[in-house]
């Protein structure tokens, strides 16, 4: 059907459809709620939700790489950990005024560079699909076991002792001489999350973003259209690595602490579960699902911590089997259909060209 519409008309239609949709409305409501939340909650809850906001970025990075580009990565927590550790190492070694802010950039870029390097080897080697999952999961496992054995005094970078399983203490983020905490830190996290979100919404709506969707659906076809598929995969892997590392930086500076468990196997499960339950094809759904599930996981953790992961595992399994779009995204789409009868509906009425005969796949 896209054949009959030219690119300009198509994107104008998409813009109209995008302006008023349940997805946008949900995010605006979410941000509005988050802006007023610190004014009505106590100090502890504000700090706690600031932690949620930091972890949300991890889920966003996975939604980008898995939902938009079709690359299932279990390495996001590895980049998360690299970001946290590198931020800590930098901030421990330099204590001038803006050092922690530079540390954020260092941590983010470190995660991105490791991701891009791994991505280069994988995508330019022609590795795809489940092998990417395996390789990234192996990276996560190896990094965790490696960091866990760095307990001795010989494992130090300048002032920063890595401390193995006991974890490394990390300075908090400072702007000039003031340490960000409480409400300030909350708004700092919120601004970063909204900034990343808006950049991603703009990117995924751009030509490049449509290219990502195309390569998710069919790599060979996209390649024959003249897209440099491998380069795009490395680009998106780099971007997702940066976002995951930013999440790690915020997590480490929020708690003043990072340890290998935060990048281990159990940690690697959680973003996949959040995104699978929420809906991987929408960054908005990933944000909302992560906030809800983190809250749920904390309430479960106080009564029965072991059951939290079983419940989440079962929910994720149900989502994959019966609601592949994810619970939150399906809800938003249903709202779209019933409330905002926009372009999505018109597309079904539009006369369709007969589908060309499918060429047989030769394997």
């Amino acid at each position: 059907m896209a054949a009959a519409t030219d690119w300009g008309e198509m994107s104008a239609m998409n813009r109209r459809r995008r302006a008023l949709s349940s997805e946008n409305l949900a995010f605006v409501l979410f941000v509005a709620f988050m802006v007023i939340y610190p004014l009505m909650a106590d100090e502890f809850s504000v700090g706690n939700v600031a932690y949620f906001l930091a972890m949300t970025l991890l889920a966003v990075s996975l939604a980008l790489i898995w939902g938009y580009a079709g690359i299932l990565s279990f390495g996001q927590t590895a980049f998360f950990g690299i970001g946290g550790y590198l931020y800590g190492i930098f901030a421990l070694n330099y204590d001038w005024g803006g050092a922690t802010l530079v540390g954020i950039v260092v941590g983010v870029l470190a995660g991105g560079v490791v991701a891009a390097t791994l991505g280069y080897f994988m995508f330019y080697g022609g590795v795809n699909d489940v092998f990417v999952g395996l390789t990234t999961l192996a990276l996560t496992l190896v990094l965790q076991t490696f960091m866990a054995q760095t307990a001795g005094p010989e494992w130090a970078v300048g002032e920063a002792r890595l401390n193995g399983y006991n974890g490394m203490s990390v300075p908090q983020i400072m702007v000039g001489d003031t340490v960000l905490f409480g409400r300030q830190l909350f708004y700092f996290h919120l601004v970063l999350l909204v900034g990343v979100y808006l950049i991603l919404r703009w990117l995924t709506g751009s030509r490049w973003g449509y290219g990502l969707l195309a390569l998710r659906e069919n790599r060979e076809r996209t390649e024959t259209f003249g897209y440099n598929v491998r380069f795009m995969q490395v680009q998106v892997f780099f971007l997702a690595g940066c976002i995951a590392a930013l999440s790690g930086v915020l997590y480490a500076s929020w708690g003043g602490y990072i340890d290998p468990a935060s990048m281990g196997l159990t940690a690697a499960v959680t973003p996949v579960i959040y995104v699978a339950i929420g809906g991987r094809r929408s960054i908005t759904a990933a944000v909302i699902a992560t906030m809800i599930l983190l809250k749920l996981s904390q309430s479960l953790a106080s009564s029965a911590p072991e059951y939290a992961l079983v419940v989440f595992g079962a929910l994720a399994l149900l989502a994959v089997l019966f609601v592949p779009e994810g619970f939150i995204l399906s809800l938003l789409q249903a709202l779209d259909r019933w409330v905002f009868r926009g372009g999505r509906r018109r597309r079904h009425v539009a006369p369709q060209e007969p589908a060309p005969a499918q060429p047989r796949r030769v394997s």
Binding site: D129, T135, L137, I273, Y307, V320
Partner: protein, 305 residues
Amino acid sequence: MLARIASEVRPVLDGVFNAFYQYQDSFAFLVLSAIGLAVIFGMMGVINLAHGELMMLGAYITVGAARSGVPLPLAMLVAGAAVGLIGAIMEVLIVRRLYGRLLDSVAATWAVGLILSQGMLILTGPSIQGVASPLGSFRVGNTSYSWYRLLLGAVALALLVALYLLFMRTRFGLRARATIQNPEIARALGVDTARMYTVTFALGSALAGLAGGLYAPTATVVPFFGTNFMVEAFVTVIVGGANVLVGSPLAAALLGAINAFLAQTWGLYIARVGLLVTTIIVIRVLPRGMSGLVDRWRLRPTGAR
């Protein structure tokens, strides 16, 4: 004179034996960790991320059976059969619904693994009393070695041979290879491919359970027992590629040498990092792993034609 030569040669021979022992130990570990995963991947293209948890179940069943009086080898076979049955159930209930959605099947099997390991933690607590490593030890030179570890090497080789015979010499193997090569034509010729997939998944799970049982006496049996094998299983399958009969042994032979050398020189952690780095380099050069290399060699252009 002779005695002097003997005393010169002796340490060298001890060293050679030590290297051989370490190598076969690594080889066996890689083969046994990966073989169930590789069978399922080679046949169905599905990566079963509950693989480690199936190994964990095998270890638990082995220990449970052995401690209630079943002889240890029999307990391991029981574990293999029981885990194979669990695998068949998993295939029918979950994996079957996700054919053609490879990434979803990865996520789903991972969720199953999570439920299994966390469920085991809830049911039995952080660890259970294990069984002692059987068969005792022997000495070469000044070092003591375990008979059981040597036996594991022999078992790994025997399993590879058994798989070869199964896939190359039986009717089941013929049907399985037909299904791998072209499922549509296999179906048209009367092969029940859905059943083939169930049986293969059960076979891979049974191998995972058996491997878990085999390693149960050598490690503490905990709900996260499976994660000890994950890195080794993954890198072997990635380096090996789709063909379990050719790829996995070659991958284990290569990675085993690297692993044994690094572990001996710098320790276990560096060895794992080395395995990962090797794997990342191998996929850059050989994206389809050792199987792809062998295929390319077999299909090489020859002068005569």
